[in-house]
Symmetry: C2
Subunit: 546 residues, 2 copies
């Protein structure tokens, strides 16, 4: 027997419709790529999104077609998203920081028919244009006055294109499970793989992450999405903020401390979200200038681990509550928030901050489990760690065009590639990447914990731990160290420092000193390089006692 | 092209699963119907709900079967709901305040196969038992010690029944559009009609109403649902609170001021929700005793208009923010909340309270429109009033078994039967019931506004306005007045008082004085009776000038 409730499919246009109907004059301020700060409203964004959809329909863009965007966070970018989804097509956000051949690869792989791009990416795209096989036209997100001379074929000035439409158009209704957005994720090996969001997943994710202990957007909030829309579905803020009728501030391309601080104070930003490096830049700027940001109440930090010192700074010096968010492109993207449960609220400050560095508890729409290598569920005791796997309506079940093959386990969970503990209160803490964890005699050793411990030694500048083959234990840890300038600590000294701080069987079997640990483009340790470098290294414990 | 996100149907059991997984030890305290305050946890509620489901399956209750509950707000009632929906069956909440023949009617109409009932309803049900054609067994929500002798056939002691199951049971997976709950709504004419919620509508409604400007339940909240679960789907709190992991306090059967105040202070309740009469009782108790409720931050009031004086009392004397909610059984039930937008936050206090008495802005999942009698949309200007119609995934499209026929208009909107204005900011204000509005010369006159105006006269105790037939204007208002004891105001005096306070053509064509205006069971004016009484009354303006 079916319920007798209305059919009302979960489509993205309902979000901007709601905002325009109920919050028509609510402001969206943008620091434009051209320079000046410009303002618009939800009413105007919806009207222009309808014009975008009308224009796209006029260029025979149909449901399911992919349309690329290479753009910063601006109101224009947002109206383009709603225009694309409103004609049933699929926005494909291209990350301008990818290598050129990766950009070519993903645009060709997605078969983008059009590419919207910000002014400052014109030169970059001109160099690639010949390699982009499917792009029929390039729409430059600017007005006639700022439109550059360009070698791009079929270059279109966005403002002329939009304002020429009359907006007499109705959203194209599609099934709520239809594709709506694509974001490519760059694995450590092979080509980037496309994650395909549906209307349903975007709407459910936006609803779920809008609950009080997560983004909790309110009509009284002024929300500044600093995380770019091209990064992991823009963390859903282009959906969550309009759904709540929040005022928005779009920072454009300038994400330095001074630019962000001035926007926060000019518009009274109450909530913002971005990656740690951006907030470190803001923190340094505030520390140098002694400035305050009295309006800011919630600062969401995600993408990588939050430094303890940043939590302390924003909580104590700026009276802003720091919320650590964890997610993945494959999860639309939010999985958990390190928001405080009542169990932790009464903790002394420093212990509370330690809880806030954890990845935290999951959205209602995210089921988590941790498993051993055989897929058996492990206990939630805050100590046992296992592969973290997730399930939910906004979690990927496959990649575009089947790349990467089957990605779900027998119970339908997606393997995040992370290794984590979960405590009795459902609080998750990532301890390692699955590929970096060291498997010793059937038990797991966290490379990250050992690295964090080693850099605590006064003479150690950098540390990396990799697992090397061991005939008896399968793998054992090798600790690779860069000493501080002028220091040359002894192996025994460092081992002595680490002893008693971890289980004895976690202690590395050997320590080697190097001049440099190869970094990745984003500053993380490139363990694949280290593994190659030490591929033939024989641990002293091989054939020896342990 | 479909998205590549996981299938994860929106089923009610995912809510209690989430709570039990992530908030296993969070407390649900209940003032039991037997007397003592008892406590349980989400972990235990889920485990017992699984046992309920297992027992129901053992009694051959199958997907789509209806199971009645006649019970107060208790943890037991909540675990029964989850047990019923978890076996794919449909909870049918029976309102014990209905007349006996209405209770018989709805239980027979729903074809309830079982009836769960609280201890204190046993006597009442014994009297009805013979008329209940479909009920195979009566499960009394108590333990062996308190189990009464009863003439009910197949009477079962709940605790024995539940604890005898081992809980080794998996939720029955059904389509998310499957029926999940029924609540009957009593119209002014004819039999009550059944509204059939689906799993999808309950989950989407709970998500949507959990946004910050509505219930906004947090893991840090202690939520006390005072509105009974048998009233309009319990305002969704049995879903919304566990979805957020909030602590809960269930007040059982005692809803007097003293009982509620003691629960609020004993458990540190932060948010509660109920109808105005209950909060008036609490207000009087607090005023008499001078007690405070320091933990209470949000008080949600709905079901009928909120008295201005109550808003002032709770805001100023108790430092609790009053949120006026509007909804209907047919809307799962929440439609709007009078939460403050930034436009209103800066208003002087009294003006702000006036905004808070309005019905307010809609959930993301509720679309509203106001129309004239021909179904044309009317402007959102805060002045024009029209029939209020709603659309959304948790709004009814029909009643059970087709009672009442077609209820949606050509655009798929449900007619609420209310007449309202909506302002430029999407703020809705109900001005009348559609059946009470007076249609004069194609324009509408609000009976409620005229009544409110008339009772402002110092000699008027009660006032009611009804429309009487008029050959030229179709309808014209008749004002019916009960004077205050010892007063006998003149017609001209009252008309003079009203003049200049409303448009001239709104003024009543005549005034009659009566000793009593017939009230309904719930204390509202019974206009149907008044219309009968004055059916043959001829207005002095008939054939006269206007």
């Amino acid at each position: 027997m079916r319920g007798l409730m209305q059919e009302w499919p979960l489509l993205c246009h309902t979000i901007i419709d709601h905002a325009a109907r109920n919050h028509p004059d609510r402001r969206i301020a943008t620091r434009s790529v051209e320079g000046p700060i410009v303002s618009t409203t939800y009413g105007a964004v919806r009207q222009r999104a309808l014009k975008v959809a009308q224009r796209l329909a006029g260029m025979s863009i149909r449901a399911g077609d992919r349309v690329g965007t290479l753009a910063w966070n601006t109101a224009r970018h947002m109206e383009v998203w709603y225009g694309i989804t409103g004609v049933g097509a699929i926005y494909h956000t291209v990350n301008p920081r990818l290598f050129h051949d990766q950009i070519t690869y993903i645009i060709n792989h997605a078969e983008d028919r059009l590419l919207f791009l910000d002014l400052n990416f014109v030169e970059q795209v001109e160099k690639l244009a010949e390699t982009l096989k499917t792009v029929e036209a390039f729409i430059v997100l600017t007005d006639r006055e700022n439109m550059p001379d360009t070698s791009l074929k079929n270059a279109i000035c966005y403002e002329d294109w939009v304002t020429g439409a009359d907006g007499d158009f109705a959203w194209v209704e599609v099934d709520e499970n239809a594709g709506c957005g694509i974001c490519y994720t760059s694995g450590t090996t092979g080509h980037p793989k496309g994650v395909v969001y549906s209307h349903r997943s975007n709407v459910l994710h936006a609803l779920s992450v809008n609950m009080a202990d997560f983004f909790g957007c309110s009509v009284k909030d002024v929300v500044m999405p600093v995380v770019p829309m091209f990064h992991a579905n823009g963390w859903s803020l282009a959906f969550s903020a309009p759904m709540a009728g929040s005022e928005m501030v779009m920072p454009g391309r300038n994400l330095d401390g001074e630019s962000l601080c001035s926007l926060i104070n000019e518009f009274g930003v109450t909530m913002s979200a971005g990656v740690p490096t951006v907030w470190l830049g803001l923190q340094h700027y505030l520390q140098e200038t002694g400035k305050k940001m009295p309006s800011l109440r919630r600062l969401v930090i995600g993408g990588s681990a939050v430094p303890f010192s940043s939590i302390r700074f924003f909580e104590e010096e700026q009276d802003a509550h720091v919320l650590h968010a964890w997610g993945m492109t494959e999860m639309s993207p939010i999985g958990t928030f390190g928001s405080l449960k009542p169990e932790y609220a009464a903790l002394p400050r420093e212990e509370r901050y330690a809880v806030q560095t954890k990845q935290g508890h999951s959205l209602y729409t995210v089921e988590m489990k941790i498993t051993d290598d055989d897929g058996n569920r492990l206990p939630w005791d805050g100590k046992t760690f296992g592969r973290l796997k997730c399930k939910g309506p906004a979690v990927a079940k496959a990649y575009f065009k089947g790349e990467g093959g089957e990605v779900l386990d027998a119970e339908g969970f997606f393997d995040t590639g992370d290794v984590a503990t979960i405590d009795e209160n459902g609080y998750m803490n990532i301890t390692d990447r699955a590929k970096d964890v060291i498997k010793s005699g059937g038990e797991w050793i966290s490379s990250i914990e050992l690295e964090n411990l080693a850099v605590g030694h006064p003479d150690v500048a950098e540390a990396a731990v990799i697992g090397l083959h061991h005939p008896k234990w399968d793998e054992r840890p090798l600790l690779v160290i860069v000493a501080k300038d002028g220091k040359s600590p002894a192996k025994e000294d460092i081992l002595g420092f680490m002893t008693d701080k971890v289980a004895k069987w976690w202690l590395p079997d050997d320590i080697v000193f190097v001049d440099e640990i190869p970094p990745t483009a984003t500053g993380k340790i490139q363990k694949t390089e280290l593994r190659k470098q030490f591929a033939d290294y024989t641990l002293p414990t091989v054939d020896g006692p342990r």
